[in-house]
Symmetry: C2
Subunit: 120 residues, 2 copies
């Protein structure tokens, strides 16, 4: 089965369909660790990653940023000492598109790769 992380972002225009509650129910279990936040700022996916210091956190921010730029879909990235919080949402539709779940899965893949590289 193709996983979310291997799917590609598609260009998203105003009026593109948000994911339905039924789709969310299927997609969310595929990205464990991510929280669906729903408040006045709109639906979004959030996850924090932990690191041993500031520069490791910053390195991850850079990698997520480059991934985002290549995909043409950009998250909010909060960088702190030992922590990076990534938030995916689609502003054009004020909510969640399938792209956001794909990018969340690809962010996880990036984290696992960095983590593996650090242990080698």
């Amino acid at each position: 089965m193709a996983t979310l992380a291997t799917e590609h972002c598609v260009a998203c225009q105003k009026g593109a369909p948000r994911v339905t509650p039924e789709e969310i129910e299927l997609l969310l279990p595929q990205i464990p660790g991510w929280t669906l936040v729903d408040d006045e700022r709109g639906n979004r996916l959030e996850r924090s990653y932990r690191f041993g210091n500031f520069m490791e956190a910053l390195a991850f921010t850079k990698r997520v940023g480059r991934l985002a730029e290549r995909a043409g879909h950009h998250p909010s990235i909060l960088t702190e000492w030992g922590r990076v919080q990534v938030t995916w949402t689609t502003r054009k539709i004020h909510g969640l598109h399938r792209n956001d779940f794909i990018m969340a899965a690809r962010t996880d893949r990036l984290f696992k790769l960095q983590d593996t590289a650090a242990r080698d």
Copy 2:
């Protein structure tokens, strides 16, 4: 007169003095553009910088990160498409130290340099 941006961060331990309200009154006008936020998360300094795209914002985040690492004092940096929000506070004392004002001024200096370089 020496400016805040030319001062250096000093090592800050638990129990170090927070800036007093009188000091804040003198320091805040030296960093126009920064907002003093005071809520349940404690006193902090916040400023947003605007950029023309995501990669310029990310480049600024990297530069602020390197500045922070050299100084041994680390902010929260929120990176988004076209915007970077920087927050300075001193967790060890749950509030603001003179270091935070120094680093705010040095963040501004970094932004001005990047802005000047972009225009050249």
